[in-house]
């Protein structure tokens, strides 16, 4: 039997940007082998909220027995989570997602382009960390609403060069990530040995289009979920080559190759 449910303890929680929280959870889930892009499903401590909340795993620190989540408060669940104090125990399912970001195919000194937007960025941190640990050279390209909402800048810049696009131009390139890619990473498809993306639908579509023929390009999807393990069919997406075949994002994903699924 695979392990699934963990009682993790809130080690600390910090608002690292307006409405963006860094949550460090301690417990033995941190000893599991986690592929970047995999996620956890958190039981929010409220009797009235039956569904768990999925969050990408932003960091695994086996030595300190902790994992880190980064999330934005968007509704009731994340609001309640953000008010939980240190020491609170949370029931967490994970690591979930049959397919995270594949990195085994990359060799030291090869180059990876990591593209992210907003709260799609958290799992890309663990990805970048794992790539750098392998000796892969990473380039980050991130989109945010504005300068204020940028988080984990230092953490990412430690791992590799990071280009920013903001909608209002308050930091880095003005405009969305797609335009930044066109202007400053026009040769990316040939320059980079692997492409990884996570973020809002628009960003994923941009990446899916631009890198549809790239043999090593991956996007991570989000969908409203119930079970998180593949049993309820809530989170399906259709195969591009045959839309009568449906995959489950929670189980067959959340990471898919570009050009693989209908966005």
């Amino acid at each position: 039997m695979l392990p699934l449910e963990w009682l993790l303890t809130i080690q600390d929680q910090t608002e690292i940007a307006p409405g963006i929280f860094e949550l460090r959870l301690s417990g033995d889930l941190a000893q599991e082998k986690v592929q970047s892009g995999q996620f956890v499903d958190v039981k929010i401590p409220s009797d009235a909220l039956l569904l768990r909340r999925p969050f990408g795993i932003a960091n695994v620190d086996a030595a300190h027995n902790t994992i880190t989540l980064l999330y934005r408060t968007v509704g009731e669940g994340t609001q309640i989570l953000s008010e939980c104090s240190q020491g609170t125990e949370l029931s967490v399912l994970g690591p979930l997602g049959g397919h995270g970001y594949p990195i085994d195919q990359l060799k030291p000194h090869q180059k990876a382009l990591i593209i992210g937007g907003g709260t799609g960025i958290p799992p890309l941190h663990e990805l970048s960390r794992q790539l750098v640990a392998k000796g892969v050279q990473v380039q980050h390209v991130f989109g945010f609403a504005n300068q204020e909402s940028i988080f984990y800048q230092a953490e990412f810049e430690k791992l590799g060069p990071t280009a920013y696009a903001t909608n209002d131009g308050s930091y880095g390139y003005k405009g969305h990530v797609g335009l930044l890619l066109d202007e400053q990473f026009a040769d990316a498809a040939t320059t980079y040995d692997a492409i990884y993306a996570c973020g809002p639908k628009g960003l994923l579509m941009a990446v899916d289009n631009r890198f549809s023929a790239h043999p090593n390009a991956y996007i991570s999807l989000e969908e409203r979920m119930a079970c998180g393990v593949g049993a309820c069919y809530a989170c399906v997406t259709k195969l591009k080559v045959d839309p009568t075949i449906q995959l489950k994002i929670c189980d067959d994903g959340p990471v898919f190759k570009t050009n693989e699924v209908l966005l």
């Binding site: 039997m1 009235a48 039956l50 119930a226 593949g230 309820c232 069919y233 809530a234």
Partner: protein, 307 residues
């Protein structure tokens, strides 16, 4: 004193009365990775239809206070794939786990074809005739809201089925009793109660329904009092066994529904909050019974004697 959790229903000799509800546990492969499904009393598989179905567009789920909405739309690989892959997979790994096959369709002919075929699978011990799915354009509620239509369909399905047929009734009706009576007269072995209520959530930003299907089926704790009422109401007019469901998350909930008249209990939404909900409930049942100085279910559900 040790407890005896066994219950006995037509077609179903169960070591305990707890089973995952249809649609909330797939065909067992996923939760089977995490615990031994042999712990379960039985298992109701996802709806089977004649043809493979893609279901509705996403989003398919939304949250509500103490509940959730789903509009999966009966996605399933179709009877042939279920016979060829899903049921054999279960039979091989869990030869002693009684399977209840949930059957749905657009037309009477569809239902009949699927019942005939699926009831021949060696591990299918009973059929749960789904005439109450609120999330599909055809079939579902059409058959479930009229006593005549429900009876005709039941009769046709019973005629071709090799196993007892439990009819899953809808709570979305003015009076469930004439439907239950008609279904009983048509040869149903028992009832399955309840399917989901119809609900909707709206995103205040877009002012559009959250679910792509607009409406969805409301399940979870929120509907428990409605399930108790309907089980109680059907029990008051029939001695047929009832598989009760709707908002069961604890052993206490299970006993409450059994006190209302259910003979066995299906657990749906609770699996999502707590993937070990079923084994947890099974484990807690002896202590929960002991609270009332009981050690078995003999005194529950008035009809228990009859079986």
């Amino acid at each position: 004193m040790t407890s005896d959790l066994r219950v006995s229903l037509p077609g179903l000799e169960l070591k305990n009365p707890i089973m995952p509800a249809s649609g909330c546990f797939g065909f067992g492969q996923e939760y089977g990775r995490y615990y031994d499904l042999n712990l379960l009393g039985a298992f109701i598989i996802k709806a089977a239809t004649k043809e493979p179905r893609l279901g509705n567009a996403t989003p398919r789920v939304a949250e509500t206070p103490s509940g959730m909405l789903n509009a999966i739309g009966l996605q399933n690989p179709g009877i042939e794939a279920i016979m060829a892959e899903k049921l054999p997979w279960l039979a091989e790994r869990y030869p002693d786990l009684p399977i209840i096959a949930n059957v749905a369709g657009n037309t009477e002919a569809d239902y009949v074809a699927v019942c005939e075929r699926i009831s021949q699978a060696p591990n299918v011990h009973a059929i749960e005739l789904n005439i109450s799915c609120p999330n599909v354009a055809h079939g579902g509620l059409e058959f479930g809201t009229s006593p005549e239509a429900a009876a005709t369909l039941t009769k046709a399905c019973v005629a071709v089925s090799q196993v007892p047929v439990y009819v899953k009734l809808s709570p979305n009706v003015t009076d469930i009793r004439p439907i239950a009576k008609a279904v009983e007269a048509a040869g149903a072995a028992g009832f399955s109660l309840i399917n989901t209520l119809v609900g909707m959530r709206i995103d205040p930003k877009t002012r559009q329904p959250i679910l792509a299907n607009q409406t969805g089926g409301l399940s979870g704790l929120a509907i428990k009092p409605v399930a108790i009422r309907l089980v109680h109401q059907v029990r008051s007019i029939s001695n047929l066994p009832i598989i009760g469901m709707g908002g069961v998350a604890t052993a206490g909930d299970a006993l409450e529904l059994m006190a209302a008249g259910a003979n066995a209990i299906a657990v749906g939404t609770a699996n999502f909050s707590e993937p070990f909900a079923c084994p947890n409930i099974i484990k807690a049942l002896p202590d929960e019974l002991a609270k009332y100085d009981l050690h078995d279910f003999k005194t529950f559900a008035v009809n228990q004697e009859v079986l």
